[in-house]
């Protein structure tokens, strides 16, 4: 089935995917390499790139177009000591409407001492009537750090669809030596009221979260990020962007109408962090450019 056909006629729940992805990374002579890769359909892994600062970039690919109720995808990533890994996806993820069963995605990542993980997937489009639950669990060893983002669009807004029925949950947890550093338990039980409420989506179809965990920051860093964003917030007055410190990191939230706005603002912080960490490479991965 082509991508366009699968949009028109989402696959039925009779043939559920139980995809698995297992990736392992190690450093060799300053360059991080993908040392083990196992992908069970619908997952695929594109060829990895070695960036000049030693970062290994891997693009994950979901070949089935989207996920239906009953699909269950599991990803396990192990990142070795001192390794630098950037994981992203080839395209937006789509969560189709469900006839009742839950669509589940579970990701577990262990990051060894002084390793650096960037978990930067492209946006997820949650169709009306989807029943979705994702779990991202990251274990950081001492000295390890993670940058992660998540961008979610509720409803295929281009065709006027809104997320008025269904349920979406995203649980993200980052732990270090048995202590939780960041726990994010987001829930959106769909309803027209939830979409309209200033407490919920405030008429905005897109939400985003950006977090950097594993390092404590100064108040001035938060101020610098706010200034970085000024041109974006001026250009998108209906959107909201916020930033705050975590005990061991930084958290940003976005709620608005523009994929471009959320993408630009998150890429700016990503590049700002990279330049402050003396990471020489901060050009955009090619798959992000549309």
């Amino acid at each position: 089935m082509s991508a366009i056909e699968s949009l028109i006629n989402p696959p039925t729940a009779s043939s559920n995917w139980q995809g698995r992805l297992n990736l392992q990374f190690q450093v060799n002579n300053g360059q991080t390499r993908l040392t083990h890769s196992q992908a069970i359909a619908p997952y695929k892994v594109q060829r990895s790139f070695a960036h000049r600062d030693g970062t290994c970039q891997v693009v994950m690919l979901h070949t089935a177009g989207g996920m239906v109720g009953g699909d269950r995808l599991t990803t396990e990533v192990t990142i070795g000591e001192q390794a630098n890994v950037l994981l992203t996806t080839a395209a937006a993820a789509k969560i189709y409407k469900s006839t009742g069963n839950l669509t589940q995605q579970t990701v577990h990542i262990t990051v060894a001492p002084n390793a650096w993980l960037e978990w930067l997937p492209q946006e997820t489009i949650v169709f009306d009537r989807a029943q979705y639950r994702q779990d991202l669990q990251i274990e950081l060893a001492p000295g390890a750090q993670v940058i992660l983002w998540e961008v979610t669009r509720f409803g295929r807004t281009a065709r006027g669809e809104h997320f008025t029925q269904g349920d979406w949950r995203s649980h993200t947890e980052v732990w270090q030596a048995g202590t939780p550093l960041w726990i994010d338990r987001q829930w959106l039980p769909a309803s027209p009221e939830m979409l309209d409420s200033p407490h919920g989506l405030n008429h905005c179809p897109i939400v985003g979260t950006f977090a950097w965990i594993g390092q404590s920051l100064e108040k001035a860093d938060v101020e610098a990020i706010r200034q970085l964003w000024e041109p974006i917030t001026a250009h998108y007055p209906g959107d909201q962007l916020g930033v705050t410190r975590l005990p061991q990191g930084l958290l940003c939230r976005y709620r608005g109408h523009s994929s471009t706005a959320v993408r630009q603002s998150f890429i700016q912080i990503w590049q700002w962090i990279r330049s402050h960490q003396d990471r020489t490479w901060n050009e955009l991965p090619r798959v992000w450019m549309l």
Binding site: P180, S197, H199, N202
Partner: protein, 236 residues
Amino acid sequence: MQTSGLLRLMQLVSPSLPVGAYSYSEGLETLVQRGTIANVEQLQHWLTQELTYGAVRLEAAVMLRSYQASQAGDRVAIEYWNQWLTAARDTEELRSQSLQMGRSLLRLFQDVQENLNSTQATDLETVLTTLDALKSQGCHFAIAFGLVASMWEVEETSTLLGYLHSWASNLVSAAIKLVPLGQTEGQRLLLALNPTIEQAAQTIVQLADGDLVSCGWGLSLASMHHETLYSRLFRS
């Protein structure tokens, strides 16, 4: 509930309890300045959403876990949930608020607890060691509240209702100053929130650990923006 438990609950949820609750608006100041909350109906909507889907639901559920762990003398569980709240509070201001109020309540409890005549239900030694540990790592208000309510032998459901009601009452007071609203309007709203509070309490007691979820976009953004407001009456 025994009369003594009821009287202690009234003390614990009283606005005169010196824990500084009156200095926090939990994002309401931002929302009022932005014009999002400009009348009592909009305030009622916000508080209802927060009680039904928001962060206070999680806090109250953790408060209940602290109460139960304290009843069971389970120090490990109390410390676990305290760390959990540190990791789960969305913004720096909300985290600071929770820790400042928790610290104040613990200190107050230790200062007044010699007047307590009965602590048979719990192992006082365990609680005192727990208190010392919590003081050194920073104690959240919800944790301290559950612990004190348990030590004061307040009945569990009343503790939960009391926690939610004192939260609502404090935010209504903040909104009376901010919007501003009349005192009578505020009292009418508090009465009107009772069914929501009861419903929230019924849901919260049933939440399993895996169901501790909330819809946090509105509160999180309002709280993040509070730090940048030009003039501020409140600390959150």
